[in-house]
Symmetry: C2
Subunit: 159 residues, 2 copies
Amino acid sequence: MVRMSSNIAAAQTRFLNDLEMAAWRTFIETHYDLMAAIEADMAPSGLTLGDYQVLVTLSEADEHRMRMCDLASILQLTPSGATRRLDGLVRSGWVVRLNSDVDRRVMLAVLTQAGWDKLHEALHPHVNSVREHFIDLLDENELRALASTFAKVREALER
Amino acid sequence: MVRMSSNIAAAQTRFLNDLEMAAWRTFIETHYDLMAAIEADMAPSGLTLGDYQVLVTLSEADEHRMRMCDLASILQLTPSGATRRLDGLVRSGWVVRLNSDVDRRVMLAVLTQAGWDKLHEALHPHVNSVREHFIDLLDENELRALASTFAKVREALER
DNA sequence: TGGTCATTATTGCGAACACAATCATCTGCA
DNA sequence: TGCAGATGATTGTGTTCGCAATAATGACCA
């Protein structure tokens, strides 16, 4: 076990210095806590963040409806994940499934009036929560830096 | 359904402007893709990111061991989540459980030599992945801004 | 037209993990 | 000393979601 304390560095890897480590770790850890806080703020509305995202996405879609595969792509879910998540929303009556008359393979997820009302109910608490825990803590320069930073990361990932 | 297009704004909520929305959305979406990319880069080592974090945490602990409850706290897991995650690592032989002789309620998670070796094997690919997809895309000012931003968010959450 | 391949959605199965209940042990105080 | 409440770990149960297999349909091309 003594050799376990030998210096692990060796090859070409440049380990993270203090600043790099601080940036990486606070990013990871804070993301988790931030999401938990926002999720908790949504609880009184009876929506999870995942359900909320479905309702927002459908509300922004043409005719408040969307193909399952497009929904899955936007929500970063696999097809099966999208099916399962929609199951809950359908049970709650916030979304209905509708067969497409253009392509008989596709199933459309359609926002109901109840779903619209539920979204309306959850919208203000959600935005206020995002502001309180995140956006309103930052000034315009910080917001710009943040957006630019993650745009870079995203662009690199898309290569 | 016509009334569904009525203006949803009304109360005191300030909705997000373009910059705020861009910062928020790129942050959320990119985090997901970034984690997926890093997780994928770890796959050849046979470790999930979750398992890797356990090994790193234990390797940094005094005598390479830690109480379950402290491990759970650091890894942002519930006690039951920590128990379940450790199960896998124990099955793989990277960690052993040991009863504490100080407090007979506590179970110590102890890194094994095999666990140390596995960590050593995964360390370079992991750090390189974090650099490639994240750290090396940013200059020093951007890293400083990032660390400062999330430190603020974290501090606000801890109130 | 007919056949091959791509696309869309769902289901069975399994992994990860939170919640609540449970049990063992410790701490502090009367 | 003895008991009440706090603390630590685990297990049963349920939820969410990914992977692989399956089935249905569409698109393309010879």
